[in-house]
């Protein structure tokens, strides 16, 4: 899905973007899960889609595979299918360049760099449990919601 071409970046609402830690905390019912559940329920009632970028989604799948094995992972991922939770495959040279810059400046993992860069490019809000990302988001002017 090419989010920019399809007009997802707009002036009407902030795009909500989940970090892998936010999606996993919902699945595991960990601290912050209620905020993610409320966000998704709200997205359903307002017909908006909450996104997670491909690399962060890969982290979720990898994490589930390592901790729970293939069967549970397949069932869990199948259960996540909803029009209000989308895995974004948006990528262009601006996003790649900015993600690489963040990664090199702040010593971030590729997933964190991509999640933050995607959020910046989309003028969105990044939902995460990782408090280490907050000062970076602050310096870079990236919307961040700490769970």
């Amino acid at each position: 899905m090419n989010l920019k071409k399809e007009g997802w970046k707009n002036d009407f609402y902030f795009m909500d973007i989940l970090d892998s830690s936010a999606l996993i905390c919902l699945l595991k019912k960990e601290p912050g899960h209620q905020q993610v559940a409320t966000l998704l329920k709200g997205a359903g009632s307002t017909k908006q889609t909450v996104f997670i970028c491909q690399i962060n989604f890969t982290e979720v799948v990898y994490f589930l595979l390592k901790k729970y094995g293939g069967d549970t992972t397949l069932k869990t991922i199948a259960g996540l299918r909803s029009p209000f939770l989308g895995v974004s495959n948006y990528m262009d040279s601006d996003l790649a360049f900015y993600a690489a810059t963040l990664k090199s400046c702040y010593d971030l993992s590729l997933g964190d760099a991509m999640g933050l860069a995607f959020t910046k490019i989309m003028d969105g809000v990044f939902w995460t449990r990782d408090k280490d990302l907050a000062p970076i988001a602050g310096k870079e002017g990236i919307g961040l919601r700490l769970l």
Partner: protein, 92 residues
């Protein structure tokens, strides 16, 4: 869910893809609408009913509940390990 294409058998029966069957098992209440038909193929639009959204979120919340460890701690360890490997690779 959007638009999905499913094969039609010679007897005219359709089979919902596995992931959609799993989803229905999880209690997501979908409204399925036939939008076009041509030989050997059928297209349907599956849209969850609005009131089922809460049920869907509740069905995934806590699917993997396990209080014995914290996922953020594990995620951060994995990222740290990945970064260390990457640094070592860059230095070599």
């Amino acid at each position: 869910m959007g638009i999905i294409e499913v094969p039609v058998s010679s007897k005219g029966q359709i089979t919902l893809p596995k992931e959609y069957r799993n989803m229905l098992h999880l209690g997501v209440n979908a409204k399925v609408t036939l939008i076009s038909l041509r030989p050997g193929e059928i297209k349907i639009v599956a849209t969850p009913k609005e009131q089922s959204m809460d049920a869907w979120v509740d069905s995934i919340c806590g699917t993997l509940q396990d209080d014995s460890w914290d996922s953020l701690e594990k995620l951060k360890k994995y990222k740290k390990k990945d970064l260390e490997l990457e640094k070592r690779g860059m230095e070599e």
